[in-house]
């Protein structure tokens, strides 16, 4: 854990960045600024994900290496997922477009 308390400059900076962003998100939300709050939250999520990966690797360093896992690529099902994702998002867009048109119609009337 000392890696995050000065042992590693990069990891310590990452931890500090997460803390600063958390305070920033609270400050922005209290000021009622939506988009800066959202960007802070997205940045915090990215920092948290990175921290979790790094922390797990350092915690398990002596007993586990990801390279020891057997890799089984599954490109077929990945392609199927991507096709379904695009089709699903298109369907959602059709519905949202209908909602926007209904809202626009209501605003005109």
């Amino acid at each position: 854990m000392l890696e995050y308390m000065g042992g590693s400059i990069a990891r310590t900076v990452l931890l500090m960045l997460g803390i600063v962003l958390a305070f920033g998100a609270v400050a922005m939300s209290l000021m009622g600024r939506f988009l800066p709050t959202l960007f802070h939250l997205l940045a915090i999520a990215a920092v948290m994900v990175t921290m979790r990966v790094l922390l797990r690797y350092s915690y398990l360093r002596d007993i586990f290496e990801p390279s020891s896992l057997e890799l089984k690529p599954q490109y077929g099902v990945l392609a199927l997922f991507l096709v379904i994702l695009v089709a699903g998002l298109l369907a959602v867009w059709v519905m949202i477009r209908g909602v926007l048109a209904a809202e626009a119609g209501r605003a005109h009337s």
Partner: protein
């Protein structure tokens, strides 16, 4: 990795899972069959100009939303919660074997939730043809999510060649999917 054991001496883990899962299965079948019902009735109301049927759909879809989305969502998460406690290793296998299966399932859930919210909150504001389309999207996504989850459940009943290969394609069988998908449709219609 070894997980701690959560021992339910009197009730048993399987019974606890069944209590939540049986309720969830009833609700999810209602969601699929009810989705078909709403779409067909909406179509009928538009074509025949039946205002009483239209009023019924307006009232019905609110109850339908509460039961399928709120109670169905809670029991669905409840299943994950309880299987994770009763058998963490099996839950981990289920997740890792079907990573993209779950990803596909979530695409269908997003479509399903969007369609039902749009249908309910814009019931009187959407053009009738578009509202009918939204009802169809709801049914389609609900049915497709049933197909995917059936494939995954079939794996737990009959893992097939997965025991030897460990691949996604060999982990589910189309044979057990068909009758249970049909039962989801017939339970409501």
């Amino acid at each position: 990795m070894n997980y701690p054991i959560w021992l339910l001496e009197k009730l048993g883990g399987g019974t606890l899972i069944a209590i939540i899962a049986v309720l969830h299965v009833y609700i999810s079948h209602l969601a699929v069959g009810g989705g078909l019902f709403i779409w067909l009735m909406d179509r009928r109301a538009r074509r025949s100009g039946d205002t009483a049927l239209n009023d019924f759909l307006r009232r019905y879809n609110w109850i339908f939303l509460l039961v399928t989305m709120v109670l169905g969502g809670l029991t669905g998460v409840g299943i994950w919660f309880v299987i994770g406690l009763v058998n963490p290793a099996a839950t981990s296998t289920l997740i890792h074997t079907f990573v993209f299966g779950w990803a596909i399932e979530w695409v269908f859930f997003i479509g399903e939730i969007t369609a039902l919210l749009v249908y309910h909150y814009y019931f009187d504001k959407l053009e009738r043809v578009l509202r009918e389309k939204v009802a169809f999207f709801y049914f389609l996504f609900a049915f497709l999510s049933l197909v995917i989850i059936n494939g995954i459940l079939s794996f737990m009943l009959t893992p097939g060649k997965w025991l030897a290969t460990g691949g996604f394609g060999t982990a589910s069988s189309i044979r057990p999917i068909s009758p249970r998908c049909c039962s989801g449709l017939s339970s409501r219609s």
